[in-house]
């Protein structure tokens, strides 16, 4: 059983929502002002997702780094493991925006793609 305080970021009101539950099971929720806030708090409680962005080293380019992102949000608790994976790879020139650097990143179904370019 765990209580969790979640600040809603759907609109500028920023409701502080108190969620009480366990794993996938939500027992109670208080503080949300609308349906969208309820959905947000539910998702944040059960499986919070984030887009991870970082940079990858490029070899033989005019710049030392190229910016990367996950193509879709990945579980929040994978962010640090994701950083470890990103550190292991190097991209080869030319890198175009949208190029896949690591496919199926950490088995999440998201790809790690370049957001910048290098040549």
């Amino acid at each position: 059983m765990a209580e969790k305080q979640i600040t809603c970021i759907i609109c500028p009101q920023g409701c502080d929502i108190l969620v009480d539950g366990d794993g996938n099971n939500i027992r109670s929720m208080a503080g949300q002002d609308c349906k969208r806030g309820e959905t947000y708090a539910r998702d944040e409680f059960i499986h919070p997702l984030r887009v991870l962005t970082s940079t990858v080293k490029v070899i033989g380019a005019d710049v030392p780094l190229v910016a990367v992102r996950t193509s879709k949000p990945i579980p929040k608790d994978l962010l640090f493991r994701g950083m470890d994976e990103i550190q292991k790879v190097q991209a080869k020139v030319p890198v175009k925006r949208g190029d896949v650097i690591i496919p199926d990143f950490l088995n999440t179904g998201a790809d790690l793609v370049a957001t910048g370019e290098a040549c």
Binding site: P12, R50, S54, K57, L65, M83, T115, E117
Partner: protein, 425 residues
């Protein structure tokens, strides 16, 4: 001396300059030239590798390089030209054309003659000097944006144990970035009793990583001989004065400053463009035209924005109207309205609305002075209300706007007010 002639010259190839250039081209300007001091277009967006851009403009969440990439592609496909690695030194407005003196590593001193000019130089970070932060002068004190460039573009780490002064968006985003890269962010310290950046950044950059946010606190002293060894942090009273007995030492090797941005107007001043006292940017009308009719301005050089989406929209206006001016198609005004800040409004942009041209909707952008909940926002002339809206929450960190119809306006003053809503209202 190398010489270039163009219809519209744009100083700065960041988001403002790119959107303005594309719009100028779309509205008939033949030769549109962006002058950029960096080696690539895109401006500060190139180092903003985090997501959160384009939610309004594109209705999708992009990173900075992706957002810039779309505008660069568009500008290039429209035939916008650019001259990179070029620093503008002086702006000399004339009757028929403005002369722009710049220096370029290939051509040397270069003179660009343009029928209209768009200022899109963006803004600068406030530094330790600006906030007169006392202490020793060791290495390891950076502005947040400088640290962001070092980490995200130059592959250089700035420190391992970091205190961040200021809860602006760049500071919070750097707190997350440094944490992901293995540094420990000791605290984010904010002198005001409210967050100065966006709530979503507090949630996703600080709360996600358990980084403490110390509101109503400030850094009072920097310690360290060669390198920062720590800072003293104290609580502040209601006048933002540090309370000495609350001072505590925090060990760290790096201090990042995210203490505000100032529009970059050294060049505007060389051309004697009128600068607004609150925004520190050029005073503009609804066409983003400055006090000098051939010079337009857009983006953070005019007023510091929190969302690039707003910059793009505003810059497209500047581009369109600068193209019209270059073609001699922007008729003079028959009268004007001064847009003034009323209660709990810090400033209104544009500061002036010129009457007499085509009738259209005009969007006024403004910031509140202090956070407030359940308010009514309204614009009025001589106590006659022109438009209003309600807001559940207003915050100095989030720009507000109202749209008015130019046909409803009379020459004189217009005031934007924010008032607490009546209980039964």
């Amino acid at each position: 001396m190398h010489e270039i002639k163009c219809d519209v010259a744009i100083i700065g190839g960041g988001p403002a300059g790119l959107a303005a250039a594309a719009a100028a081209k779309k509205h008939g300007a033949e030769k549109v030239l962006i002058i950029e001091r960096d080696s690539a277009l895109g401006g500060i967006l190139q180092q903003c590798i985090h997501p959160g851009f384009g939610l309004i403009y594109y209705n999708e969440e992009l990173t900075g390089p992706e957002y810039a990439g779309r505008f660069i592609s568009e500008a290039e496909s429209l035939g916008v030209e650019s001259i990179l690695n070029t620093m503008v030194l002086e702006l000399l407005p004339g009757a028929d054309e403005t002369r722009i003196i710049c220096t370029n590593s290939d051509f040397g001193i270069t003179e660009i003659k343009a029928r209209s000019v768009i200022l899109a130089m963006g803004c600068r970070e406030r530094t330790r000097g600006n906030i007169q932060l006392p202490g020793t002068r060791p290495a390891g004190v950076y502005t947040a944006g400088a640290a962001q460039r070092l980490i995200n573009r130059q592959n250089a780490m700035v420190g391992r144990e970091v205190v961040i002064l200021g809860s602006g968006d760049i500071g919070m985003i750097m707190a997350r970035r440094l944490t992901l890269e293995g540094s420990k962010v000791v605290a984010v310290v904010e002198i005001m009793n409210f967050l100065s950046g966006l709530t979503r950044n507090r949630v996703q950059c600080l709360d996600d990583f358990g980084i403490p946010l110390m509101l109503s606190h400030t850094v009072t002293w920097i310690t360290g001989n060669r390198r920062v060894e720590g800072v003293k942090i104290a609580k502040v009273d209601e006048n933002k004065k540090p309370i000495p007995e609350t001072e505590q030492f925090f060990k760290c090797d790096t201090l990042l400053l995210s203490v505000g941005l100032i529009p970059e107007n050294e060049l505007s001043c060389t051309a004697s463009v009128e600068i607004g006292p609150v925004t520190s940017g050029p005073v503009v009308n609804q066409y983003m035209q400055t006090s000098i009719p051939s010079i337009f301005a857009c983006g953070n050089v005019v007023h510091v924005n929190d969302l690039v989406d707003n910059v793009s929209v505003e810059s497209e206006i500047a581009g369109k109207e600068a193209a019209a001016y270059a073609a001699g198609a922007l008729p003079p005004a028959t009268g004007s309205v001064s847009c003034l800040a009323g209660s709990n409004v810090r400033y209104v942009c544009p500061q002036r609305i010129d009457l007499g041209n085509e009738e259209k909707d005009i969007t006024l952008y403004f910031r509140v002075s202090a956070p407030e909940t359940k308010v009514r926002i309204f614009a009025s002339q001589d106590n006659k209300e022109l438009c209003s809206k309600k807001a559940i929450k207003v915050n100095p960190g989030e720009m507000e706007h109202l749209t008015i119809k130019s046909k409803d306006l009379q020459p004189g003053k217009l005031i934007v007010n924010i008032s607490k809503e009546e209980k039964n209202g």
